[in-house]
């Protein structure tokens, strides 16, 4: 009986592999639903470590990001946290930026320094965004002091949620000014610049770009964190569709892998998206920042593994990446449970 279960295959995958992908998909889904990023960033290295060829790993990861982004966007749409106009405006810049970024890589490849430059840029960018979030979380902790944990996310005004740097950028009146979904205004130049910058990074590094897109919307354009996550997911949906189309044309998307991952992530993304309505972002931002710093170290170790030709370092890098993501996923679920108890008047 057990033997027949273990020999069962669905879409070319055995039960153990399906269980692995569903569990991994769940973790990525929670992460993706809560932060609006983390799809290709986590899935592509996982598939590469599991022995899938790079085009299959990237193509399947793109298709997975598209599917998860659809689910998470619908969920955020229900909560009114997606600014479609902003997403569409950014998308024009993103598309142009991706083209420019990929041309830059080809240019560096001609010079024979593409891998080194891309690797170092990736490590520095992850570290910089990690420091930004960690510092922001620590400053908030200091400012809030003893009141931390007592604030209800529903009672936060949008002004409180928008970072000071974004409010300063919004104060410069550079026409044409666009009205965002929350009523605030942002220059079309800022929006296009952010879109172009995010696209450039995305095309240059060959990643989905959610880890840049979400902070850029939050810190530069200036929306609430929840709206930044929702709008970033909408951006992920569009870039995921384009990526899936490109790799789908080459016939390298593994539908079995995508389906198994989606079964897990669909549930995780619902939970992660719902958690944004309960969990005070300040409680989790610090873990997010630390995770990005660990991810920066993990990517650095992976680059070292290639240069020094020590394959075991690649596994260390993968374990660091998944371990830190798992920790943040657990903290989201933990703080979500605490928030539910608080909301129902149960002492934490």
């Amino acid at each position: 009986m057990l033997e027949s279960i273990l020999s069962f295959e669905l879409l070319g995958l055995g039960p153990r592999v399906i269980a692995l992908f569903v569990t991994f998909g769940f973790m990525v889904g929670v992460f993706f639903g809560f932060f609006g990023m983390g799809g290709s960033f986590l899935v592509t290295p996982a598939l590469l470590i599991l022995g899938y060829p790079a085009p299959v790993a990237i193509g399947s990861s793109m298709a997975f990001v598209f599917g998860t982004a659809v689910i998470a966007t619908i969920k955020h749409h229900d909560a009114g946290q997606v600014d479609y106009r902003l997403g569409a405006l950014m998308f024009v810049g993103i598309t142009l930026g991706i083209e420019l970024g990929s041309r830059l890589v080809f240019g560096l490849e001609v010079l024979g320094i593409a891998n080194v430059v891309v690797g170092i840029t990736y490590v520095l960018l992850l570290a910089a965004i990690g420091v930004l979030f960690t510092r922001s979380a620590l400053q908030t902790d200091e400012a809030v002091g003893d009141e931390t944990g007592e604030r209800d996310s529903d009672t936060n005004s949008d002004d409180d949620e928008i970072p000071a740097i974004a409010r300063r950028i919004q104060s410069y009146n550079l026409p044409p000014m666009m009205t965002l979904a929350d009523g605030s205004k942002a220059s079309l130049w800022t929006i296009s610049g952010v879109g172009g910058g995010v696209g450039l990074v995305s095309g240059f590094l060959g990643v989905g770009g959610g880890f840049v897109r979400m902070p850029a919307i939050y810190y530069v354009i200036g929306t609430s964190l929840a709206a930044a996550v929702g709008t970033s997911l909408f951006g992920g949906l569009m870039s995921g569709a384009i990526g899936a189309f490109t790799y789908g044309r080459a016939g390298v998307i593994n539908i079995g892998v995508v389906t198994a991952l989606l079964i897990g992530s669909a549930l995780g993304a619902r939970i992660g998206s719902s958690a944004t309505a309960y969990v005070d972002e300040d409680d989790v931002t610090i873990y997010f920042g630390i995770m990005l710093l660990v991810a920066s170290a993990a990517v650095g170790i992976s680059e070292l593994s290639d240069w020094l030709e020590i394959p075991v370092l690649d596994r260390v890098s993968f374990l660091l990446l998944v371990g830190s993501a798992l920790l943040v996923c657990f903290m989201i679920l933990y703080h979500g449970a605490l928030a539910v108890r608080r909301a129902r008047g149960v002492p934490a």
């Binding site: 299959v56 997975f64 189309f245 998307i253 549930l267």
Partner: protein, 52 residues
């Protein structure tokens, strides 16, 4: 199993659109399906969380 096995003899663009269509369909089915599960199970889970 890869996307190429889904349709034979059609253009790569059509194959790619078919793959996107399948992923979109899966995503919608899973969203609706888990929505049903959420409606049925969420109140009990939230009560359990609050009572522990």
């Amino acid at each position: 199993m890869t996307g190429t096995e889904l349709l034979t003899g059609v253009s790569p663009s059509l194959q790619a659109l078919a793959v996107i269509g399948i992923v979109l369909l899966e995503a919608v089915i899973l969203y609706v399906g888990y929505g049903g599960v959420e409606k049925a199970v969420a109140p009990a889970v939230l009560n359990r969380l609050a009572s522990r």
